[in-house]
Amino acid sequence: MLAFTLRRAVQAIGVMFAVGIIAFSMFRFAGDPVNQIVSIDTSAAEREAVRKSLGLDDPVPVQFVRYFADAAQFKFGVSYQFRQPVSALLSERMPATLELAICATVFAMVFGILMGVYSALKRDTALAKLFQAVSLIGISLPTFLIGILLIYLFAVTLGWLPSFGRGEVVKLGWWTTGLLTLSGLKALIMPSITLGLFQMTLIMRLVRAEMLEVLRTDYIRFARARGLTTRAIHFGHALKNTLIPVITVAGLQFGSVIAFSIITETVFQWPGMGLLFVQAVQNVDIPIMAAYLLMVSLIFVTINLVVDILYTVVDPRLRATVGRAA
């Protein structure tokens, strides 16, 4: 168990190291950092001075270690376009992205599980078929089209919901939240649906498949024989057993939700990290791109590691096979 955890942790550190090399190479070699800072008519001597002050004349390994040490303290350099420290920009925008991602995940879990259970229990009803059709569309339609469709329906035509921004936000220390004001909550609805729709269809299909499989098992038949109510069988016994894979998938997908929020944030002009990243790609603002890559990788690797370890805690069979494979 300990050996497995350690091996996974070493792997995770290896991945972060590789991502760090990519981020550093972007930072150092893709475009000359000096050119981005000085103006066109700066003399060669002054350029050299800037180069020296940034430490760009040191050997590359030294620079790499320095970049890593800085990154570990969340110092990612200065943004070319905003002339502000990247870490300040990121931490200012992180609450918006995390709030959106959490709301989208909650939306996806609640509706995905409800629809999945319904379409497993009442397989041949019209509503269940409608859910299947919706899930096919949810997987096929690009995120930004869904966002535009929602904006046209609820903002342009009906005028019920705001089409962009976060609404009013409340400051709680360094964290800003839109959950405490009416306009903030209204602004969250459409972006959360847009972002969560793909995860919702994924969870719905998973719950449906798992439910159908569990309902065929012997212990469900035995529960029926014991004369338990249908309700108790379906929700007390069957649903409970489908939830482990659902929670795993939802957890693993959380990283993707944060990455996909890039698109949703652009559609709704949501002031989060994703929008910052897209603007950075548009303007070739390498420090922001490198920092975003590192941050998102850290989130991904951490989630994967935690899920892997939790899996072995929850499921002893897995521990045995992993031990044997090693």
Binding site: V15, A18, M26, A30, G31, L136, I137, I139, S140, L141, P142, T143, F144, L145, I148, L149, I151, Y152, V156, S163, G255, S256, A259, F260, I262, I263, T266, F277, V278, A280, V281, Q282, N283, V284, I286, M289, L293, V296, S297, F300, V301, N304
Partner: protein
């Protein structure tokens, strides 16, 4: 996508004289039988083929060339579709801010979306197949390195990788790229985001195939490794590759459209469907819904049809489900 199946298998038959016999065999096959049995698949195939034809013959079918500023007249700007009260012939689906016919723009946009999608799939396929063959055939450390990279990349969503590759390419080549070099940047971004699926599948099949007698025989008569891999092992792994390629075509088109929508893909001077949607999105609040609605509808229909074809192909080529 059905014609891709045809042309692909056709390429494998060595002599043109056999083509006719091959065709009647194809019409007689299980795959074609399951194709005729599924109405939804036939509709999807029809729509896909129709879209490909529309894209190929865009310059014949369009009422104007939307790339040519000389053919655009501001007088014709913001006309609503033909069937509405303010509609004007010949602008079937209306015009945009610059007097560009939406229908023509969709045809040309579709051509670019499909071209980038197909090129991206080919690039990703070539890269993935090559790396998968090498990893599976040689095994050992080479295999370890390639598959480790694949594992790491698989944990990140393709769109993130495409965005990063795009940003890096732009910073190396300079931010002001012309539209044609942007096409190449997009194809490379898409290719580098989607090679993993091919590599894993090919590696898996190769590891099964390479222990069979025919590979041992080929090695025994002294054929070089690249020849064994390409001529003998690869053809036996084509089925799953075809399925991945079809599903990836939809994903590649979505990725290109998303990048263009985000403003890091094709510029306004060479619009793909994604660019058209980004432009049209700006006029949504002014009530000019047709500028964004029809490109969006075209994109959705295209992706849905290709996905349905991919689903069918996966089931049809899977002997376990037959």
């Amino acid at each position: 996508m059905s014609d891709a199946v045809v042309s692909n298998s056709n390429g494998q038959s060595t002599q043109p004289a056999h083509a006719r016999g091959w065709l009647s065999r194809a019409l007689d096959s299980d795959v074609f039988y399951s194709f005729r049995r599924s109405k939804l698949t036939m509709v999807a195939a029809t729509i896909t083929v129709l879209f490909f034809l529309l894209a190929i013959f865009a310059s014949v079918l369009a009422v104007q060339n939307p790339f040519d500023p000389a053919q655009l007249q501001l007088m014709n700007s913001r006309i609503s579709p033909l069937w509405t009260a303010d509609g004007q012939s010949p602008f079937l689906l209306g015009t945009d801010e610059q007097g560009r016919d939406v229908f023509s723009a969709i045809l040309y946009g579709m051509r670019i979306s499909l071209a980038v999608g197909v090129a991206g799939v080919i690039f990703a396929g070539a890269l993935g197949i090559a790396l998968g063959l090498i990893a599976g055939y040689f095994g050992g450390a080479v295999d370890g390195v390639i598959m480790r990279i694949a594992d790491v990349q698989l944990t990140f969503p393709a769109i993130l990788i495409a965005l990063l590759v795009n940003g890096i390419a732009k910073s190396i080549l300079g931010n002001r790229l012309d539209a044609t070099s942007m096409l190449f940047v997009l194809v490379i971004s898409i290719g580098l985001s989607f090679w993993v699926g091919y590599a894993r599948t090919v590696r898996g099949s190769v590891m099964v195939e390479k222990n069979k007698d025919y590979v041992a025989a080929a090695q025994l008569i002294g054929l070089p490794a690249p020849k064994i891999m390409l001529r003998h092992v690869l053809p036996n792994t084509m089925g799953p590759i075809l399925v991945i390629a079809t599903i990836n075509l939809a994903l590649a088109i979505i990725t290109e459209a998303t990048l263009s929508f985000l403003g890091v893909g094709l510029p306004d001077t060479m619009p793909s469907l994604g660019t058209l949607i980004r432009i049209g999105n700006n006029y949504l609040f002014a009530g000019e819904w047709w500028i964004v609605a029809f490109p969006g509808l075209a994109l959705a229909a295209l992706i849905l049809s290709i996905n349905l074809l991919g689903d069918w192909l996966r089931d049809a080529l899977n002997p376990k489900l037959r």
